[in-house]
Amino acid sequence: MRTSRWLGSPRVGALLLDAIAAARAQVATTITLVLVLAAVCFAILVTTGQAAATEARVVEQIDRAGTRLIALSDDGGAAGILPHAPMTLESISDVTWTFGLGAAFEVTNPLLPADRVAARALVGTLPPDLPIIQGRAPRPGEAVAGTGAVIPLNLGAALGAVRGTDLGDEAVGVVGVFEATGPLHGLANTVLVAAHPHDGLETLRFVYVMANDVAVVERLEDVLRTSTPARQAAAVTVETPSGAIALRDVVAGNMGAASRQLMAVVMGVGAVLIAVTMLAAAVSKRRDLGRRRALGATRSALVAGLLAQTAAGAVPGVMLGTIAGLVTLQATTSSLPSVRFVVGLAGLTLLLTLAAATPVALHAATRDPLRILRVP
């Protein structure tokens, strides 16, 4: 029935430009919306955002104690963890890194054999928690010393060599010094000798496995109990940092719950203010909306236009509030929430704005244009 060469529905680009023009034309409404959203974002950032940053710091400190590190041990040597266990376990998708240690033996500096230091065979590469701070990482047949073993072994700047009970008569070159941090700080006084693949090492006493995330530790523990290559797998002791994880959950839960409640209150108040603002705008534009219906705007086009107009005012408001909140936090506490938190807050606020504006837009779009336009 339509004979016009026009589409009969608004072009998306034109609708967006029209929405921006409408936002600019309705100065009072737009400024109110910008200020409300800026206030909401600012309030959330300086309260919940600060709490989130503090929570992240505390959790990070707890994580440093090793919430993701799982230790497999064979204290009595009965389990017989096989030397290729680290390589096998590294292929599990939830594992970040893994390495194994053989049974302890004593080493001394053959040139100055005064003190003895514990040493273990190392299978796998040194993890990030054992960074080399002097020299280089060991190749097979070479050793690295923990920072606490350097002085007892009288190792100089150019390092030296060690000889021990498990090393035969040959001295092994010490090519670097590692720093034992976090959950592996217990290795600070140890010498690690990188094992040859075929040097006759029969079993391992420890295998350390770092999980990708705290959330997978429990699941990974079950996998390790059944998947670790060992002569007597049932005899392998699997230790997880359950206490640290529980503490982490309590800290994150308590702090998170409080900040989430505060955020919900601020957002709830913000949603009411936004809905009232949009309602006032829609009421003041009743005749205008009726005119547009009369000119051929479909209900969906009218709703889309009103929501786009809302978004046109909301985006600058969210940006303004976010920037002001971050600047305030930086100036007062020097602790900023994560990028993920800030982006999530901005997205959530925009969604909340559109959700609050939608009922108003739907109501405005379903009004009978004739009743609005009729001149008595």
Binding site: S4, P10, A14, A21, A25, R293, A294
Partner: protein, 232 residues
């Protein structure tokens, strides 16, 4: 519906509420293509309401509005809206411009929902504004122009998409004689392109110059229950 008719009504009845008597009852008419038809009658006789009904802005209480032989008043809301956007031009009694936007933006308003490209709309709008003598008011707000100029701006908006049916509700009521003549001539010229033009007016002289006149004669005769438009 006879040949040469695009829009018409069959037994059209409309009331604003159930409590009040119908404003229009059992009205049947055909609007010829390529001609100007005037609707005349006393205030309250339903001239504006009939325009709104024929322009598919509102559904009748009973009866049918026909477009090209189809019961257009029964179409879904979205399809009626699209017909209004693309095929209808409407000049409201009080111009009804958006006071927060420029005159040029008001003229281009009808292009948005028709899906007319902005560049074409802008060019056509300036052309029409020049024709109606308001081209120098493009950047002004409606509050800064006279009532007569506002009515001419409303004419520009109605004609922007080149609609095949134009409804004008008292389009010359606020105009001086010279402006009224320009508006009337524009409506006549548009009809000459093959469009259907319907004008409601109190002006007997204007009605006399139209191709057809439909006179709405007042209240419904209780004994008849039917209003038959007088056509001259």
């Amino acid at each position: 519906m006879s040949a040469g008719t695009a829009v018409g009504a069959r037994d059209l009845t409309f009331g604003y509420s159930r409590r009040n008597p119908a404003v229009l009852q059992d009205l049947t008419l055909d609007l010829p293509v390529g001609a100007v038809t005037t609707l005349t009658g006393p205030s309250g006789s339903g001239k504006s309401t009939l325009l709104y009904l024929l322009a598919l802005m509102v559904r009748p209480t009973a009866g049918t509005v026909m477009w090209d032989g189809v019961a257009a008043s029964s179409l879904a809301d979205g399809e009626r809206a699209r017909l209004r956007a693309t095929d209808v031009g409407f000049v409201f009694q009080d111009a009804l411009l958006d006071p927060s936007r420029s005159v040029l933006a008001n003229v281009c308003d009808s292009a948005l929902f028709a899906g007319m490209p902005r560049r074409i709309a802008g060019s056509r709008a300036r052309e029409l504004m020049s024709r109606f003598g308001v081209e120098h008011r493009g950047d002004h707000r409606p509050g800064e122009i006279s009532g007569g100029q506002a009515q001419r701006v409303a004419m520009c908006r109605a004609l922007l998409t080149g609609p095949r049916v134009v409804f004008a509700d008292e389009p010359t009521g606020n105009l001086d004689d010279a402006s009224a003549a320009v508006v009337w001539q524009a409506l006549v010229d548009h009809a000459a392109t093959g469009a259907t033009v319907v004008v409601s007016t109190h002006d007997r002289a204007l009605a006399a110059r139209s191709d057809h006149e439909v006179r709405l004669t007042g209240t419904v005769a209780p004994e008849a229950g039917r209003r038959t438009p007088e056509t001259s």
